[in-house]
Structures are given as C-alpha cells and as structure tokens.
C-alpha cells in the first residue's frame, strides 16, 4: 500500500508530508518534484500521473494548483491511489471550506489529524466526511474565502447570477456559522461538461456530455432525500452503433451509462426514476452519467481563413448562441492557432462591442478572443488581418486552426436531464430548509475544424 502522502505547492514547497510505512527514503518529495518539473527536460510537457524512479512509484494528481502525491514500493492499484488522492482533496476542502496553500498551512494540525484517520499503515480507511466527523476533533480555522479565487466545480456559480448564494459552497461543513446556528440548506448541482467537434463543413463529428449530479448538504440530522429525474429517462443505448444519430429519440433522454454514489438507494429508480438517499455531509457526486445521444450544441462556430494578397490573410470568426435569450453564457474564450510564420495581427471587432478583448501572442501564434458574456440568440463576429513573414506553403487552412472555445452557461443543460423535484423528509411543520437546484453547462473540448 502507499508509503507516503504529501502535498506540494506549485513551487515545490512541502505543505503536508506524512510517512505511513517508513520504507521510502525521505528525499522523495524533492526527487518527485524535480522529475515532474523537468519531465523530458522541458517545463511544457506534463509528466504522466504514475511513474517510477529508482524503485519508488510516484502517483499524483493536480487539484486546485496543488500536487497531491503518494509513493509506494509495491504493485498497488493505481486507480485506487488516484481516487484516494482526489478524495483526500475533497475531504480537506469539506473541512476547510477552501482548499489552497494558505488554508492547509493554517490548519495543519487538523489536516494531520484527518490524514491519520483517512489512512492507516498506508491503507485507506474512510474518506467520507460524515464518518470522519466522529473521530476528528480539531476545528478548522477559516480562511477568508472572498479574496481567494474560488475552486471546485461548484465555484462556477459564483460568477454572474446574483441569485446564487456563492459563499455558501465555500464554507466548511463542520465549522459553525459566526451567528451560532447553521443555516439549513442543501445544494444540488447538475453540472454538465460537453465536448463537441465540428467538421470544417459544420457537421458534428463527435459529441458527448459528461454529467454529474453533485450534492452538498448542510442539513442537520441527515434527513432522507428523494430526488426525481425525468420520468422517461432511459439508460443504455440499444442497437449496434452508439453513434447512430438517426434514431429519432424524440424528447427522451437516453444515457449511455451512469453510476451512483454508494449512499443512493435505487429501489424505485426503475419504476419512477427517483433516487432515495440519506446524504452524508460534504460534497459528493450522487450520480455520474455519460451521454452521446445527439443534442443541440449551444454555440455554432463559423471560421474562415483566406489569403488576401502576398504575405497577408484574413480570418473571420463568427459565434452564434443557439439557446434561449433568457440564458446568458459567461467567460467565453475563443482561440485559434495561426500559421507559424504569422508576425502581426490586427483585429476588428463589431461595432458597439462591449466586454470583448482580443490578443495575439508572438510566442504561441494564436488569436485569443474573450467575451464577458453572450446572450442567447445573439451572434458575434471578429475579423483579424494577418501579416506573414513568408509565403504560405499553399494550403493555409491546413496550417491554422482548429478553433477551440471555452465557456460556462449557468441555468442551462444540454442533455435536458432534469431534477423534477427534491423532497426532504420533514422533521416538523416549520422545517423548511433552503433547496438550491442549479444547472450549469461547461465546455470540455469544444472545437471547430477548419
């Protein structure tokens, strides 16, 4: 099992270090950091998450800009270690509210206490915040979340819409509110990451949705909860090809595959698509799902690059938002690699453009176009004039692109998977906790080829 666990900052500082078995030499953290930092001699390539140096196996994940690392000498299950590292990060975040170098340093007594309960002699014991509460007694020292960049998937709710009680998700699940009583509330977030690849002619080559129903409960007494999904939800695609888009599925949501948290009871799931669970404290994924069924992509990208005389070319980028005008996407970034011999780019934004910025960096030869927000139904265009220092080799479209796009769309979900209702077993008539059901769609790999 694992020998050591440690957390390093981006600069390689040792923030947390715990040795469970004393079989790996002490200098392992430095050896690890040097290896990761200069993988293949440069700082560009990411080191693979699992590697071996001198008989010591190093397994690591990056969470919130920190490196969570485990070492071992034996032939362990690497996915178990990776999962464990992710869970440690999550439990720590549950306890500290925010996960970063400062919060870890301020709370090191608590963190070491947690680590002693989470792992014994290198074996994972429990990673459930709920279960840990009975054995961990130190109180977290809360770090001021407001001045720190928020982290984790739920942080996306902090931008834009004011309805979201953003700070709630960065509060510790164990710390009491300054006012004394805890606020009774529960968050259910439907987070979807979508990947779409458009061909040069605008057809969808591949599309996929990775979704998660995430829950974070601050309810006292852990009441039972019922979560109802689309009644006509179906799971597992029939037929030979998963990518057979011709199957006219109507309004039915078809998931390719899904899995559930261990606290979820699926007794009535087959009947009426409801999930019953007693949510443990802390943030956890109630359900993960994957869908390759055809869906309407939120953005259409239209990109054109054309030579315009000797050593010159013009790029036209058009983005159309294919969703309802009541919905607004935010923090949109569009980027397009240009031919390596591009020296200068001059941009021309549409008239009256607000909150749009453009950039071209000599070092990476990319058009970078950032838009603060895009309202549903609108269309935005960017023109760019390129100057080259040499002739193109003939086919300029092969030397530029593809266009990639990143964005966040709150209150929108591409899969149409819905939480029909969220029911909390009532303790008394006056018991009426806050329920937040939130949807958000994020880009994963959103690409249009030229």
């Amino acid at each position: 099992m694992i020998s050591q666990f440690f957390v390093l900052s981006q600069r390689g500082d040792n923030i947390v270090f715990r040795d469970y078995r004393g079989e790996v030499p002490k200098g392992s953290a430095e050896i690890f950091f040097r290896k990761v930092k200069f993988w293949k001699g440069d700082e560009q390539d990411d080191a693979p998450p699992v590697f071996n140096v001198d008989g010591v196996n190093y397994i690591h994940v990056k969470v919130a800009g920190l490196l969570f690392v485990a070492t071992t000498r034996v032939n362990v299950s690497p996915s178990l270690v990776l999962e464990l590292l992710q869970r440690i990060a999550r439990v720590t975040k549950d306890y500290l509210g925010v996960l970063n170098e400062e919060s870890l340093r301020k709370n090191f007594v608590l963190v070491y206490e947690l680590l002693d309960e989470v792992i014994d002699f290198g074996y994972p014991q429990t990673t459930s915040t709920e279960a840990l509460k009975s054995y961990v007694f130190n109180e977290p020292i809360v770090v001021d979340a407001a001045r720190l960049p928020p982290l984790g998937p739920a942080s996306m709710f902090m931008q834009g819409t004011k309805r979201m009680p953003g700070t709630a998700v960065t509060k510790s699940v164990v710390a009491n509110e300054p006012g004394g009583r805890k606020r009774e509330e529960i968050f259910v977030d439907i987070i979807e990451k979508i990947s779409v690849t458009f061909s040069s002619s605008g057809y969808i080559l591949t599309s996929e949705i990775d979704g998660t129903i995430q829950m974070k409960s601050y309810l006292t007494g852990n009441p039972e909860i019922r979560l109802a999904l689309n009644e006509d939800l179906s799971i597992g695609r029939t037929g030979a090809s998963v990518y057979d888009y011709n199957s006219s599925s109507g309004g039915v949501v078809i998931l390719d595959d899904c899995n559930f948290h261990e606290s979820v009871h699926l007794d009535s799931f087959d009947v009426d698509r409801t999930l019953t669970l007693v949510p443990p404290d802390g943030e956890f994924a109630v359900m993960n799902y994957r869908m390759t069924q055809e869906f309407k992509p939120p953005f259409r990208i239209n990109a054109l690059i054309e030579e315009a005389g000797a050593l010159k070319a013009e790029v036209i980028l058009k983005i159309r938002a294919d969703f309802a005008p009541t919905v607004t996407a935010n923090t949109i970034a569009v980027s397009m690699p240009l031919p390596a011999y591009t020296t200068r780019v001059s941009y021309e934004l549409e008239s009256g453009a607000v909150g749009q910025t453009t950039d071209f960096k000599e070092s990476n030869k990319k058009i970078e176009w950032n838009l603060k927000k895009i309202v549903g139904g609108s269309e935005h265009t960017l023109r760019a004039k390129l100057t080259f220092f040499q002739e193109s080799h003939g086919n300029i479209t092969r030397e530029a692109g593809p266009v990639s796009m990143s964005f966040t769309i709150p209150m929108y979900n591409a899969s149409r998977l819905q939480v029909r209702y969220l029911q909390i077993a009532k303790k008394s008539k006056s018991y009426n906790p806050y329920r937040w059901v939130r949807y958000v769609t994020q880009s994963n790999s959103y690409v249009a080829r030229l």
Binding site: M1, R18, E23, P25, G41, D45, D46, P48, P49, V50, F51, N52, V53, D54, G55, N57, K62, T72, V74, N75, S77, P78, S79, L80, L82, E83, Q86, Y112, E113, D116, D120, F121, P124, Q125, T126, T127, Y135, S195, T197, T206, E208, G236, A240, V242, D256, D257, C258, N259, H261, E262, N288, R290, P337, H393, N395, E399, S404, N444, S445, V447
Partner: protein, 829 residues
C-alpha cells in the same frame, strides 16, 4: 484527553526505550479505557512503535482489541496485525492472530471486513507460507462480504479474489455474476478491479454467448472511466491498451471515444493514439485517418510525429486502406513542415517494405524534400529508398553523391545506409559514376572511420565485389522478407502476465511486477547508500511507451533497422579470416594505416541501449603499467546528441573511484567514443564483507542518470612487484596457519600448455615459482601480491588439456578467497 496525546506520539517520537516503556504503560492503560476511540488510538499507536523488543507488550491489548465490541477498535486492530507481522512475523503466527483475522472477514461491519482482507493480503504477500489461500469456502465468504464492504474494501477483496482459479466454467460464471454489479460503482478503482476479475474468469468460460454478453457489459463502464480526471484516464488507457490486445471486441465499436480532445494532456493523447491504431479497421479507417490528419497539424511536436507514424502503421496494418493512408501522408508532406516530412519519409520506407513494387510512383514527390532532411533516421530512410529503387530513379547517382560529400560528418546510421545504398546503385548501374563513388565510399568507410560496424561492413562489400560480383548481387539485392504490422507488439507471454496484473502499476508500466517492485527496506536504513537495492536502472523513465515514442523506433521500424544492418545473409564461413585473406590477396586495396584506437578485445556491454535510452556502454576494469583504468566504450543509438558525460562510483569493497574527469567528446546520434578513465583505489570504501559489485552511475546533459553494475575482478589489483623467491614462498606458506588455506575447483578453467600459461599469467602479474608432476597431473606454484600488498600463495593442479583446475591458496586475508578464485578462473579461461 490522553487519547489525543497518543495520537501525536506516533508521528513525533521514535525515541528511547525507557521513555517508550513509560509511554507504553500509559498506552496499555488506554487500551482498556472505556472510550472506544481511546482504545483504538492506543492500539494504533502501539503498532507504530517499530521496536522488536516492545512487541510482546502489544500482544495482549491487540488480542483484546481484535474482539472489541466497537467496530472502530476492531478495524484499527486488524491493520495493527499487519504492522506487527512486519516487525515480528513469528509472534503473529504463534499468537493465533491470523485465525482471528480470518474470522473478521465475516464481521458485520464493512470497515472491519475491508481491513481484515487488506491485512491478510499484505501478510500473504510477504510470506512464503499459504496464509490467506482463497478456497471455495473463503471465496463465497468474500463474495458475500463484497456487498457489505466499503468501496476500498471492495477493491481489496476483488484484488485478493483475482488470484483465485475457478474450478470450471460454471463456477467462473457464478463468480462473474456476483462481480458484474461492481461495474456500476462510482469509484474507478472498484470498476477496474471488477473488470480484471471478469477478464480473468472469462478465460474459463466456454460459452461464446456468455463471453459476448460480458464484453458488451464491460464496454460502457470502461468508456465511462474515460470521463474521469485525466490522471485516472491515463491509467485506464494504459489498461485498455492491454485489454484490446486480448479482447478487441469489447471496444471495437467505441473508437470515437479515443479521439483526442484538444485539452487532453499530452500523456493522455499519446495513449489514445496508440489505442486508435489498435482499433483501426477497414470499417472505421476513414474516420481515423481524418483524425490523424488533424493531429498532424497540431502544435505539440511529439504528438504530431506520433500521429504521422500512426498513419504509416495503419497503412501497414490494413492492406485495403494503404493507398488512402499514403495519400494522406503525401498531403502532409506538401505542408512542408520539416519534422512532419521527415517522420512521413520514415514511415513510407516501412510501407515500401510492406508492399514492395506497389507505391513507388511517389518517390519523385519524396525526392523533392531531400535537402530539408536533417534527422539521421529520416536521412537514412531516404537513402535506403534511393538505393533500393536506384534503377527507377534517373538521377539516383547524383542524389547519393550529394550525401557522399558530407559522409564524414554523418552519424553512423546514415553512413551505414549510404554505404549499402551506393553498393546497390553500383550493382544496378555499374557505370563510371557509381564506380568512382564506390571507391570513395569504401575508402572513407575503411580508412577514415573509427566505427567497427561500418568498417567491417565495408570490408565485406569490398571482398564480395572484388571476388564475385554476381554473389554480391545475390547478397545485397536479395529479396527482403515482407514486414508485418506491429501494433500488437507485446510478447504473448508478457501480455498474459500483464493481463493478470490489470488494475495494478504493472499494467500501467507494461512491465512485470518483479521488474520494478523491490521491497528493499534496507534502502532506508542505510542512508549513505546512494543506490537503493535492486533499483532497476532502466525504469526511471517509465512508462516506456512515452519515452520511446520519439527517438527509439517502434518495432516496425525496428524491422527495417534490421534491414539497415543489411548483409545479414552474407556467407558466414569466410568471414573470420576475411581480413587476413584480403591482405594477402590484393595489397593494393588494403589501407596501410590501420586505426589503432580499436585495438584490444571487445568490452562487455554493461548498459544495453534498451535500458540506457539509446545509450549503450561497454566497459571493463583493466590494469596497464601499474595503473588501473576503466576502459569504456560509449555508443549513442538515440536520436539526441549527447554531451557533458559525468561518472560516479558507489562505495565498493576496494574503494575504487575515478582519479580524473571522464573524457567523452560530444556524441552525435549513431557515433561511438572510447575512453580510458584512470582510477584510484581505497578512496571510497564500503564496509561489510568483500564483494565484487561495482555500481556505476553515468549521466549526461540530455538524459537522466543511468545506473549499471559491473564486476570487479581482483586481477586488476595484482601488482607488478608480486614475484616471490622460492625460499620466501616456502617460509610464508609455513608461517600461515592451515585455516588460511582454501581450495576450490575451477570447472571453467583449462590449461593446454604449461609454458604458455606461465607466460600469460606473468603478463597479468601472477608469478611462477615452481612446478612439478604428480602422475598425470601438473602442479604449479604461483604467487600474487594483490591490493595493499596482500600476498596470495597459489597451488594449481590440473591435467593438461582437460577442463577443470584445482586451485588452492594460502593468504593472510582468506575472506578475499572467493574474489580471488573468480579472478583466477577468468585468467585461466
């Protein structure tokens, strides 16, 4: 709260025994505390005191805690048994803790079950005795526990069960049925361990329907794992790589999920590419090619190269798609991005080998890029193509001549290829131009080079051409075997072993566990040891797949590399005396100034290029003029120019260390360099019994440190002043007690002639004293003075001409005897 104190005790103190006893007393009391938390903390803490003397104190509380009412105490105690076993295995067995642990598998608390299984599995791994054998009884117990267990416990159970061999297909099916629901688990480790278990049992299942059904069931969960964090994706991809080699049907229809996303980390992209090649079929090749073409225009150079190579590999794999693949490659060549062109030429050469006389029409296009080539492998490939098709390329002689101008500066790979290509050209077009070229190239290759490979090959051609040009044609222009696809390149037995290790590190590294697992706890206890025991030198750059993706050729080009060293079918018999023959036969042809740097017998290879990332090192300790040298030969088979070589020796019995700097010039790819490194002894002594082990670390500016081990033969320490007078010899012999006399048979040694042997031994500072005959045996008396003036008096008894020499020695330092015999045997071989 004393429970809290004890908690920090385990992390802070590992101190003195008296202190410990005191602490233990308080721990002992704690272990009977009414608060279960404190009882558990006490037993956990006691397990952390890794002192053998203390273990007795631990037994009673541990016994009690294993049967505690509180599950938290029991689960902590279960792990404590594993801790105790690590310190004192016998005690654990004697006190019956193992049986208690086995009972805990049926505990009603999931965490207790998980820890009991984990502890038993670890104990079994460190024991040679069957402690935790999976019988059909434990099997059913564990399968029941699987449903009750924590997620981590499920992984422990599945991994423990994967060692179980089902009795028949029915039992296998039953097991699979119980395990299949685990595929739906949210924990990636559970899913992957379940997949391992199912794959394992599938081997026994005979019904094709059941197998097909299982394949179908495994596919969606495997794909879902690819939505996890990139780190997990990487592990899953490495595993899928193995799985599809055995059961391609599982993911045959899912090739799209392996298409690279633009934001995938490079290590994920590389793995996806590999799997795409494996899953490419006539059905999906158009889609796949479209993807590869797209990747070939991306920014990351390594990834682009791999994508280009992937197109070539698909062409070789899928005959019907070859033409489409080639047209994509040609399209890419037209972009004129330098590294794309070079990579394309390398794979096209392989395609020509796979489909001879089919696609030669594209040679003209390839020739257009001739002058942009600057990488050795690409140059060599292009030259091979020109030589192979010299008769169809009008200006082949001009093209080769242009390469010939820079012959001296080219790396060995290119030189060898150019030599062969010009010979081919000459055989195909024996006109004046090629004839001059061949004179020039043979002259360069025999006179002006230090590279023995090149020189030998040149001599072989020379002799062939001068003695029998028709035979030369048969040899050089012989039809080459057609290469085949290599995308399933793992050796079947290795694949079997790796598949049995799915969901472990072994399946990520694609190496069997014993290649990288070393339970060397001693590595920590000896802080001055620079080299942890058993550290495999070559695995520091794991995974191999990643590191060899660029420089080292994949095995398809490995095949063509073999073709590079071409005249394999050269007549074997005349080769040994070829040189002498040549000299006698035609003096005009023979260069008079033989390069002297290559004298001496070949050095043994100590670091093969497979573990040295293309750097091969051959080395041996030698003694010359009373001084010890490390004679080294560096061969750079990588794609990088290597420089800044440094060397370091670990502590060793003789304290050998380098006396000067390692003088190795810059090594371009394909070149070699020899050096003599002066050594000093008794600088760097390691304590302990004498050992001949010499651990060496070499590094350069381009590659990470590589380690290798060499053997110190005692004879390098035999000093020139070791000769003894007869009287002195007898006196010393008598003065040494009989316990200092050691004898050994050296089965590998043989003496043919006494006089020749005496002379040879004298050259290595083993001095002759006297000889006598005993019936048919010869007895020799010899003397040696080894390191620091230690005398060795030697009596050698043998029958002339028959292998096997009896060697008896007397010395004040008998502990050196094994090393001495080793040296003696090598001298008399």
């Amino acid at each position: 709260m004393s429970g809290h104190d004890s908690k920090y005790f385990s992390t802070t103190k590992k101190g003195e025994i008296p202190e410990l006893k005191e602490e233990l007393n308080s721990q002992y009391k704690d272990s009977q505390d009414s608060n279960p938390l404190i009882r558990a903390l006490a037993v956990r803490t006691m397990g952390c005191i890794r002192v053998d003397k203390i273990t007795e104190y631990l037994c009673d509380p541990l016994q009690r805690c294993l049967k505690d009412d509180d599950p938290y105490v029991r689960k902590t105690a279960s792990i404590c048994v594993a801790k105790l076993y690590d310190i004192n295995a016998e005690l654990v067995e004697d006190r019956g803790f193992l049986d208690t642990l086995k009972d805990l598998i049926s505990d009603n608390n999931p965490m207790v079950v998980a820890n009991a299984v984990a502890a038993l599995a670890e104990i079994q791994e460190n024991s040679h005795m069957p402690i935790f054998e999976i019988t059909s009884h434990t099997l059913s117990k564990l399968l029941t526990a699987l449903n009750e267990c924590t997620e981590w416990g499920q992984v422990f159970i599945l991994d423990a069960l994967s060692r179980y061999k089902a009795a028949d297909a029915r039992e296998a099916e039953n097991i699979v049925e119980r395990v299949t629901p685990r595929l739906q688990h949210a924990n990636c480790a559970v899913v992957l361990s379940a997949v391992k278990m199912i794959l394992q049992q599938m081997e026994l299942i005979t019904s094709t329907d059941v197998v097909r059904n299982l394949c179908k069931k495994m596919s969606p969960p495997l794909v879902t794992l690819l939505s996890a964090e990139p780190e997990t994706q990487y592990v899953v991809l490495r595993n899928i790589n193995l799985i599809v080699q055995r059961r391609p049907t599982i993911l045959a229809h899912e090739i799209k999920v392996f298409f690279c996303k633009y934001n995938d980390p490079i290590y994920v992209k590389m793995e996806k590419l590999e799997i795409m090649i494996k899953l490419a079929s006539d059905r999906n090749i158009d889609q796949v090619l479209l993807e590869f073409k797209e990747y070939a225009t991306e920014v990351d150079v390594d990834f682009v190269r791999k994508a280009v190579r992937a197109i070539g590999r698909c062409a070789i794999k899928l005959e019907r798609a070859a033409e489409r693949c080639i047209s994509v490659l040609l399209e890419l060549i037209k972009i004129k991005v330098n590294y794309v062109v070079q990579e394309a030429i390398i794979v096209i050469k392989d395609i020509f080998r796979r489909y001879p006389n089919t696609y030669e029409s594209i040679i003209a296009t390839l020739c257009e890029s001739l002058d942009t080539l600057d990488e050795p492998e690409a140059k060599a490939s292009m030259i091979w193509i020109i030589g192979e098709y010299a008769e169809r390329i009008d200006n082949a002689d001009e093209l080769l001549e242009s390469f010939l101008e820079t012959f001296r500066e080219e790396p060995a790979l290119v030189q060898l290829q150019l030599l062969t290509a010009i010979v081919k050209l000459f055989l195909k077009k024996p006109t004046e131009g090629p004839q001059q070229m061949i004179q020039a190239v043979l002259n360069h290759a025999t006179v002006e080079t230090d590279n023995p490979d090149l020189r030998d090959r040149a001599y072989i051609y020379w002799r062939l051409l001068s003695s029998d040009p028709e035979a030369a044609k048969d040899v050089v222009l012989a039809e080459k075997p057609v290469i085949s696809d290599d995308s399933n390149q793992l050796d079947p037995s290795l694949l079997d072993e790796l598949l049995a290790n799915i969901a472990t590190l072994s399946s990520v590294f694609h190496k069997p566990p014993d290649a990288f697992v070393s339970r060397a706890k001693s590595a920590v206890s000896r802080p001055d040891d620079d080299y942890p025991d058993g550290a495999e030198s070559g695995y520091s750059e794991l995974p191999a797949q990643m590191s060899d993706s660029v420089p080292a050729p994949t095995s398809s080009s490995g095949v063509s590399q073999a073709s590079t060293r071409q005249p394999a079918p050269a007549p074997a018999a005349p080769v040994p005396d070829l040189l002498g023959d040549l000299i006698g036969m035609d003096n005009a042809l023979v260069p008079t100034d033989q390069p002297t740097t290559n004298s001496g017998p070949p050095l043994p290879v100590v670091l093969p290029s497979s573990t040295g990332q293309g750097l091969q090192i051959s080395a041996q300790l030698i003694r010359r003029d009373g001084q010890i040298f490390y004679s080294m030969l560096f061969e750079n088979n990588s794609q990088l120019t290597l420089d800044g070589f440094m060397i370091q020796f670990n502590k060793n019995t003789f304290g050998l260390a380098h006396a000067g700097q390692l003088q190795v010039p810059q090594l371009p790819p394909g070149s070699t360099a020899r050096t003599l490194l002066p050594m000093v002894a008794f600088q760097n002594l390691s304590p302990g019994p004498p050992s001949s082990l010499l651990q060496v670390a070499v590094k350069n500016n381009q590659q990470p440190v590589c380690y290798f081990t060499d053997k110190i033969l005692l004879n390098v320490f035999f000093s020139e002043d070791g000769r003894m007078e007869r009287a002195n010899f007898l006196e010393t012999w008598k003065s040494l007690p009989d316990s200092n006399e050691i004898a050994k048979d050296l089965p590998g040694a043989v003496i043919h002639s006494i006089d020749a042997t005496i002379e040879r031994l004298a050259a290595t500072n083993v001095f002759f004293i006297a000889k006598r005959r005993r019936t048919n045996e010869e007895v020799l008396y010899l003397s040696v003075k080894a390191a620091r003036g230690i005398p060795f008096l030697i009596e050698v008894t043998t029958v002339l001409g028959t292998p096997g020499v009896k060697c008896a020695i007397k010395t004040p330092n008998p502990e050196m005897a094994p090393l001495f015999f080793e040296a003696m045997e090598s001298l008399l071989r």
